[in-house]
Amino acid sequence: MSERTINREGQLRRALAALRRDPLALTGSLVLAVLVVVGVGGSWLAPSGINEVNVDQMLQPPSWAHPFGTDELGRDVLSRVMVAARVSLQVGLVSVGIALVVGVTLGLFAGYYRGWLDNVLMRCMDVLFAFPVLLLAVAIVAVLGPGLSTAMVAIGVVYTPIFARVTRAGVLSVREQVFVRAAVSVGASDLRIMRRHVLPNIAAPLIVQTSLSLAFAILSEAALSFLGLGVQPPDPAWGRMLFDGRGFVTDAWWLGFFPGAAIFLTVLAFNLVGDALRDVLDPRQLTVSEARRSTA
């Protein structure tokens, strides 16, 4: 076999081995796996329909029939939490996707060309960065009107500066490397150098940032929904369910508890996986014994 595949396998093995050694990361990935399954197949897997109103069954505590209990309209909380997982994942992926594409592009150009372009772009990013995340998102939603897609755009805009900064920082160090000068010397165009030489070399911090941003994006979505600026009822969203449950904290704790736990677990899982990825992807953080093992 060629050395390329050996090397690829080596990296995969290293990632898996690191996962095995790190029970937290393993737990995180398992939670994420469950979340993805539920998110994709939620409406089929859910025991009952999300808007099946049943007034006889209202505000039932958790039981075998309704493991997460029922809400004030007798709807099954478990089903609603499961279906809402899709919204959270969707908002997380789309908004971080927006932030990633826009932020990385801006950061690449700013860091590579420097000069006035860098100044203009990065000062704009600073302005965005200076606003508290939620305030900015609320402002954007206020302009565009509430709803799922505007929530995604708003969160995407809010997280763009982070990606632009991480990218620019990476580009600044990579562009001074001799291999970039070598690429210039053989006559490679700027775009080619950015795509082939610079971007792959800053992939590691970007992957880690993506994973961590997913956690925060989901949290932001929950906050927007909580404020009534995200998903509109009767569609379920974790933040919205939390809001609806707040009136019943003393009588029906399960209304707020389960959506809250779902948010907590999801954010925690993304953070754990992000930390683990950082350890795997950044060779400088390898311990000596790990480094030996991975080269042996």
């Binding site: 060629s2 050395e3 390329r4 070598a182 053989v186």
Partner: protein, 327 residues
């Protein structure tokens, strides 16, 4: 024969906060097909900068003036795109440190043919077989497998071979080697020097070799230009310059080479340091450190480059005796 690359009256001025720095202060040299020109000098003497400026790779803050001809085409008036094309097609570069001049996340195969893909329009498949061919050319064993390896899987010497293969990908007319052996151990240095000399014989490529290693110069160069503070102090055929160094600086440099026969004798040095490029003296730049130290003329008047024998020129009012005796 027409030179591959010729520069005339090349000056490079770099704007700094403390005023303009004269990195290269008027330099002429030319390298002909199949010939090796060695540019020798201390760090900061302008040897690298003159080459980078000639090929359009000088930093953006540098102001370059003078005329540069690549294969008879005047480069200075050309647009950046056209220059980039000519450079990629006709010139190959080998940089000092093979540890950093390869991209760690691309296989060596992809990197070796990067220029060829861009300038010759090779397909992926053709590029790959060309990469194997090139790696074989520079003496990398089992190139067929190594082509898919990453740079960290190579030793320093092997990486420099990869860099050389990369430089040769477009069959350039000129190879520019910027201290290619400095970062390597002595045995590997000899192999790389040998490799370049051998490739040059087989491919007929012209070479500009930037170095401060006079031993390497004696071994491979046809002509040598000794640079100091942005100017050429002495240039000519390598045998003539080494046998009869006419500038006191060349003499001092040659005398400063360690001599194994002398055993534990103390190394000869040249006292003092080169002048700052921010403040070049009006006269001879080497005057403050010169062992000859002629007269007031040296201090106030720039000596012209004068011929001492066929093709051998020197920039001093006091050419040294031609019997090889050094001061």
């Amino acid at each position: 024969m027409k030179p591959v690359l010729a520069v005339e009256d090349l000056t490079v001025t770099i704007g700094t906060r403390r005023g303009p720095a004269h990195a290269v202060a008027g330099v002429d040299w030319a390298v002909r097909p199949g010939e090796t020109l060695a540019l020798v000098g201390e760090s900061g003497s302008g040897k690298s900068m003159s080459v980078l400026a000639a090929t359009g790779l000088a930093p953006r803050t540098a102001r370059v003036a003078g005329r540069v001809h690549l294969l008879g085409t005047e480069l200075t008036g050309l647009g950046e795109d056209r220059r980039r094309q000519l450079r990629g097609r006709h010139i190959g570069f080998v940089f000092q440190d093979p540890m950093t001049s390869l991209n760690p996340v691309l296989t060596v195969g992809r990197q070796v043919t990067e220029a060829a893909e861009e300038h010759l329009g090779l397909t992926r498949r053709a590029a790959r077989s060309r990469a194997v061919e090139l790696l074989e050319l520079v003496g990398i064993p089992s190139a067929g497998q190594r082509v898919d390896a990453y740079p960290h899987q190579f030793s320093g010497g092997m990486r420099q071979r990869v860099v050389i293969a990369m430089a040769l990908a477009c069959e350039p007319d000129l190879l520019i080697a910027d201290e290619p052996t400095t970062a390597l151990d002595v045995t590997t240095q000899a192999q790389i020097v040998e490799l370049v000399a051998d490739l040059q014989r087989r491919l007929g490529t012209a070479v500009v070799w930037i170095t401060h290693d006079l031993g390497v110069v004696a071994g491979i160069a046809d002509t040598v230009a000794v640079m100091y503070a942005g100017r050429i102090l002495e240039q000519g055929p390598v045998d003539a310059v080494f046998a009869t160094p006419s500038h006191p600086y060349t003499g001092a440099l040659l005398a400063a080479r360690p001599d194994p026969a002398a055993g534990g004798a103390e190394l000869v040095t040249i006292a003092g340091a080169p002048p700052s490029p921010l403040d070049l003296p009006a006269g001879c730049a080497f005057w403050p450190r010169c062992p000859v130290r002629g007269d007031a003329r040296c201090e106030h008047e720039l000596p012209p480059l004068v011929p001492v024998s066929a093709g051998h020129q020197v920039r001093t009012f006091y050419p040294q005796p031609s019997d090889g005796e050094r001061q």
